[in-house]
Symmetry: D2
Subunit: 319 residues, 4 copies
């Protein structure tokens, strides 16, 4: 069973590559398993510290159940426990989540990346109870809580983390932030939960809490992991000047990524923008976007393409 | 194939009754099919004009896939096309919705009550494209669009309806409103879509547009349909004084139903409040609430219980 | 002292016309008092039933204190109690509102159109206490509560109205809705408060509650009152066919008025859009928009201009 | 004229103390000028680096105009340019803000703490134009932009700062954050604007950008400045272990400060909570809360009182 101390370094988040035609409403069997296995293997071999599959970027929402099962099995078998692997099992209800958790646990996943059921917005009590139930149900399956307030219409406030730390012992980490008030959260949770920021905040968070913030996540790894690995190594080495320089380089690649409407607009185009920049980078073939999210204005798409090109160029520098 | 002109009168919305223990995370096979069949039959025999199953109240979100299939089959077989039946097929992605639509169409449902994929909030273009695709995919399956802005984080604005009327011909009705600006919507959609208000707005809407607003929906029918049938008949007869009196009586039953935090708080307790008042009315056994929504403060629960008692009393008056 | 029974018919809402250059940051003394007096006199003589000045449309927010005093005095003196007049006195704090209320009361205004202090969003308790305090402070000054949830970040929920009806007896009417659930509000407030819808909902509301909904407001009157007067007369006469036809005609003029982003975007351009359509109609010279709201994209402006032209054409039909 | 390089260290934010009875709607002349002068003098003598008066905490919203003028004059005369002083001049319209800016500039203030007109939410274009106009109007008056997204319904996104840095040269600093993505903002604004976090984020921000984040603000200074001064000194000295320890101590005092509803609820009780903890600390007599914000539930009030007691205890440690 993974523990909080196992969570360190770079966690790569991957798409679930799709076959041609996957954007059509009548497409079936859309997962490009060969490309999924190839990408997963490439990332593990590159030296990433952990993997996260079938989150938002992995199109967990728009895969059919059988596609989800095929993809989950493919990733678990490819990783073969060489690094910690979290597979997304979020669904609309607890019972379906139980079924999915059992499926991945039986196949050998270390953990689940798990958000909240979202049909009704959970209250604080519902959200804590949900994670407590999942801990009770699967004491051997680690949970990376998926802290996405917009999607789940839940703010994941400090009291949530304090209660989860007490009542849901399998929650060992979370996608969260970056959050400058991290020190208070670490205190409230007695260090039982590692808060992983996005790569864009990894340097900042490591400066604030260098002993705690030793891990971060990056969908960007699916455009080629080299800049992310370089950042990880600089942080590990405490080479802050180099870490800041890499942070600045990475920031440059993202200048064109977010749409003009900011995070509110990003919420409608998250999947699209990720897959488009992955494809543009050339590091993997993310493929068409599954419906209904295959719709995107050209101006917004171009920002993601430019991001993909800039990242590709950055790989040359840090490769 | 149903058309807009077939949609009139009272549409009863039903729960998916659950067996004891259904609130537990380890429950499986939770649908009380006997009670579901009994309730459905009772409502059809009572004279309701149409049925809607497996919406929010029907716990579409927290049924497992196999439970959803069993419940859908049960309802379709019980109704046997005696009245129009809309079965909820909303899911997180288009491909899963296609699968569900096919399932109910093959079994003989007339239509689907269909909301939007909700992981990412749909833009106007995505939402219109989604319904247009479903019309293209299933030209024989009528759609009752599920206009729930809070859940789907989409406002269903006037331009949406104008475009859906042109591009998605199987969308023949929608849960919507009540909306005093209905006349403009009817104009924009050329009367191709019937806008069904909740029973609490049925009288009001019938006064504004007596030729259009000849249909409404009521989860309340699952507490006993008599008051709702009486309202339908008064509206049909143009007996406005009686309709207004019934409307006032129904309004009284609802005074305690909504939690103090208003609609924002209701969004977290919708399922719970419906099932609790159904049970309290004694008309059906809605059973325990499936997780993670089995959590509710006692003060909020009491309001729903009082509503159930008031409705039960009202049945005596109109039965 | 006005009572709820005095509130009937058409309430015209007016701008505070501005002199050339009013859009500049260094403008002072910007009110075109001649045009304000002329417009006010023209509306009173046209037969409107009441007047509302210095609301959002009257640029209450961006007038300096001395401009506000000049404009308030001008309107009060022009109307000379021939029709009920409500002058906007909303400000950021209770003490300033007290000062403004006293000012207009001393000059002879019948009432204030009064929203909530908005720096911090009021809770239910604060909002009720505020109106109760204003009733205690000015028992001779009627209040038209300004129910604008977006601006004041307060939802004006049913319990608010129930409590205001008990604790703030001078609140005799409100800009509200249109709201199809009006019957419940009338019941909760024992008929002590008249709920005035916008002209676009006047027909609909009169159908639902013909005895209560005998009054409505229209900024559109400042483009020429004839269509609004015709609608008022048709509703008064119970000539529903004619009322509906006028409603449809008025609806046509508004098709281009709202910006593509809906009410959320309208909130940033409310003043601009009103003044622009007033100017385009030719009925009054609303003049430049006071800063910082003088900024508006051309595409949004064009919709308001088209609305002004359509209204002008409609005046010919009903004049 | 102040420049960005002058902004460093601890900026104390003060209340505008009120006389007994100030919470009544009929109170007039509510400012306790003696206590305002005493508090201001005490803070300047204690060694704070700068002062901010008449922001939210200073009840800018609920002072009458003449009270605001008295208080502004009192603070300016007391400070006598010994440290930089920013006086809040936010109002509902540009013209009134111009008047207020001129008032404080004539009396000798160095700068204004300036938010956005809030009646209509400003768009990006309006907001940038507003600050650009204020820079043109008052080239000698420094601006601390008041970045409060909730109050002003404007998100102050990165493009806003990039444009303000180009078009509004007198904007030299802002209350902002804490924000872990600060590095990108510094880059976009070429270092022309100093971003001041709240004291609770001062340590964190100083770790991320030690050369830029050399200043922070603290309303807490009005409970006694010693802990804030100790934090400032530790950061100045690069003594990160001591800075972190002080940060932890300060975090402890705030554990009870925020209401259970989080920042959304805090927005309705911001003024109240600040004044209550100030009074409880005994360092100043903040006095009653001006209406309509004198309403607060006892449970929420108790959290602020406990915060005041904890801060008072902390002064003993760092005094």
């Amino acid at each position: 069973m993974l523990s909080v101390n196992d969570i360190k370094g770079l966690y790569a988040i991957t798409p679930t590559p799709s076959k041609p035609g996957a954007e059509r409403w009548d497409a079936t069997d859309t997962v490009d398993l060969d490309e999924l296995a190839r990408l997963t293997e490439a990332l593990v071999q590159s030296g990433v510290n952990g993997m996260v599959a079938m989150g938002t970027t992995g199109e967990c929402a728009t895969l059919t159940n059988s596609e989800w099962e095929q993809a989950a099995a493919c990733v678990i078998e490819t990783v073969r426990k060489r690094v910690p692997l979290f597979v997304g099992t979020t669904a609309l209800g607890t019972h379906e989540i139980v079924r999915r958790n059992r499926f991945i646990l039986d196949l050998g996943a270390d953990g689940t990346m798990l958000g909240l059921p979202m049909w009704q917005p959970c209250t604080l009590d519902m959200a804590v109870q949900f994670y407590a139930d999942m801990s009770e149900a699967f004491p051997q399956l680690a949970i990376m809580a998926y802290d996405n307030p917009g999607a789940f219409r839940f703010n994941f406030p400090p009291p949530f983390w304090a209660q989860v730390a007490r009542r849901a012992p399998t929650v060992i980490c979370t996608k969260h932030g970056p959050d400058p008030m991290i020190s208070a959260l670490i205190g409230m949770t007695q260090g039982k939960i590692r808060f992983l920021p996005h790569i864009a905040g990894a340097y900042a968070m490591a400066r604030i809490e260098p002993e705690h913030n030793i891990a971060f996540w990056a969908t960007e790894a699916s455009m080629g992991p080299e800049p992310a690995l370089a950042l990880r190594d600089a942080i590990d080495a405490g080479d802050w000047a180099r870490a800041k320089a890499i942070d600045t380089d990475i920031g440059y690649t993202m200048q064109t990524f977010f749409p003009p409407g900011g995070m509110a607009e990003f919420a409608s185009y998250n999947i699209q923008l990720e897959k488009i920049r992955f494809d543009e980078s050339g590091y993997c073939k993310a493929g068409p976007i599954r419906p209904p999210y295959h719709v995107i204005p050209d101006t917004i798409e171009q920002g993601a393409r430019e991001c993909g090109r800039r990242w590709k160029a950055l790989r040359g520098k840090y490769g």
